[in-house]
Symmetry: C2
Subunit: 377 residues, 2 copies
């Protein structure tokens, strides 16, 4: 068994739980936020910085690494851990989402997907077997079944056929997976925004008995209350003793709402992406530090934050770096945003252990400038 998962504590007033995920590269407290290292690097950060902020697991992307530098190069470097000098846990997604979102020309058939590289237009084919072969070479602790992430909005018939094919692909992935002793393969539930399709997909995927389950195809444009409803209908059908991973979701409000609905794992590019636009996440909402209002503001991004950035640099300095296109500016905000999010998850876990999660939610949403109602609860 590559991983084991244990539920430590279940919240009495919500669906949340605190758990412990053991991987070949360390033990991770859940719920957990996984920083995204699409191309074998979490943008602008070193592994040491990620460790310092408390990251125990990061995500990387099969599609990108297959395109560049190629999975065989990564394999020769000792897998992703050796290649990127990261000795804690890694999860790779299957490439399904990227094939559908990044590649212009693609042709989906039962066997797999023909598509063109977003880098040089070259033609490629990924099947469920190929996606597993690539991920076996990359060597992440957790790997994902190859799925079709259907678009939103999507008509019912397409959504049903797509979810059915995703289930057949999941079975083929399971058969193709070689390194079950050191890589755990997770299945992915699809079904777009249709409650009955989500339920049917959850039944199909859980019948294959994976060591963990992801919920895919959400946060792709649908309103948040629809996403939350899909979680409400899906999560109860997932086995209690296995980790549950909500893919591509990670704004602070969604993290809280997801945990409350029983999610254990999250990943999101939001933290690093908004950093590049000069936006910091804080306990009082977002701070667009590029704004002229901060030109002579010598206070930190977040007065309540104890991170390296907030302890040492002012908004005025970070704004200057951004205006001058200096990379240190991106580094400082990226560090802060990831630290903030990992810290928030730590507080959420503590609240689960203390039976105070609803109070944390209320307090956070009030300070963050959401009303609990607006957020779809």
């Amino acid at each position: 068994m590559a991983i084991t998962f244990e539920v430590i504590k279940e919240c009495k007033r919500t669906g949340a739980r605190a758990g412990r995920l053991s991987t070949p590269h360390g033990i991770i407290d859940t719920p957990v936020f996984m920083p995204v290292g699409t191309q074998a690097t979490v943008k602008t950060m070193t592994p040491e910085e990620l460790k310092k902020m408390g990251a125990g697991i990061i995500l990387s992307n099969t599609y990108h690494l297959y395109m560049r530098p190629g999975h065989r190069v990564v394999e020769k470097a000792g897998g992703l851990h050796g290649f990127m000098n990261w000795d804690r846990a890694i999860l790779t997604d299957s490439g399904g989402f990227q094939v559908f979102s990044l590649s212009g020309l693609r042709d989906i058939e039962e066997d797999g997907v023909h598509f063109r590289s977003h880098i040089d237009g070259s033609r490629h084919f990924i099947s469920p077997e190929k996606a597993v072969e690539i991920q076996n070479a990359l060597g992440a602790d957790i790997i994902m079944a190859f799925d079709e992430c259907a678009p939103y909005p999507c008509d019912y018939n397409y959504a049903r056929k797509s979810a059915d094919m995703t289930a057949r692909w999941a079975e083929r992935c399971k058969k193709a997976h070689e390194n079950t002793d050191r890589q755990a393969l997770f299945g992915i539930v699809q079904g777009v925004t249709y409650e009955d399709l989500r339920r049917e997909s959850a039944r199909q995927i859980t019948s294959l008995d994976f060591p963990g389950y992801a919920i895919g195809g959400l946060s792709v444009g649908e309103p948040k209350d629809i996403m939350y409803r899909m979680l409400d209908v899906t999560v109860p059908l997932l086995p209690r003793g296995k980790p549950r991973y909500l893919m591509g979701v990670g704004s602070p409000d969604c993290l809280i709402e997801g945990v409350i609905r029983g999610i254990d794992m999250f990943d999101c590019v939001l933290q690093t992406r908004i950093a590049r636009n000069g936006t910091a996440m804080t306990g009082r909402g977002r701070v667009v530090v590029r704004n002229a209002a901060y030109a002579e503001d010598f206070s930190p991004l977040d007065p309540d934050c104890g991170c390296y950035t907030c302890k040492n640099y002012s908004k005025a300095y970070i704004r200057h770096l951004l205006k001058a296109d200096e990379i240190l500016g991106l580094r400082l905000i990226t560090y802060h945003n990831l630290y903030f999010t990992i810290g928030l998850m730590g507080k959420i876990r503590e609240a689960i252990m203390n039976d105070s999660l609803p109070e944390l939610k209320e307090d956070f949403f009030e300070r963050y400038g959401y009303s609990a109602k607006k957020s779809g609860d």
Copy 2:
């Protein structure tokens, strides 16, 4: 006195000397290489990283900081040290070189220089007094007189008039300088590539009795042997007991040749600039790590280097980061190039102390792929 300088040891077989420069922000062993932080940040690096590689003094640019964010903003932040979170020494250049090299439209007169901002085209005027006023606000430990850096090639008459005006400007700078107790003002010798003008400029500038002297207007396109000849005629005219700073020069061969001719301080953007092109400096010459030859080279940039980058990452990984436009690639090469250069200066100083500088030079040039002859010696 803002600074004191002591010659610790003079080389018997060359003009080199090892010294100690005491500043309000720490003591610096010379000869020293100063990483360049043009816009109040050494590109891609944090202050902690600069300290880890042994940097005791960095350079920043008056012109850039005057344009953005403005010297008054920096002053309000506690000066450059507070603004950028750097508690070791800083040297600011006067803006002279940048006004002449970056600004398109400019109009030089006895009083000062009218020019347009390279950022937004706005009109500005910097006089010697203004350059000192800005540098007083920035608060660096060492500040530079405002000079005209004449172009190369340059006709004799222009060069003479320019050097004469630079001497008059130096006198005005000295009069305008307020914080003599905590900021040392250096004079700059000009004279393009004319030996008699260099000598005359050295006499003019040293007659003003500055606490340190720079040699400007070199490494601006002239052949290296001409630069070395200018040092040969200029350095002997500078007082032995004051630090000598060769501005804008810092390739490994020029560092060695400069030290041999009695230079104590250097700065250069080369290290950070070639990092951005994917080029590493090593003890065996430059490595263009972007090259396809390194796609599956899992050895470090420099097998003889003990820096963070070389201890943890392969050429293949760094090449991947560069090809994928990932900032970590720039960080890793920048760190290595600065570490390499600061380390080289450490070895040079040790060789001065051990009376083995000529041997170090011969060995270095042989491994680096220069013949001593080609380098202009």
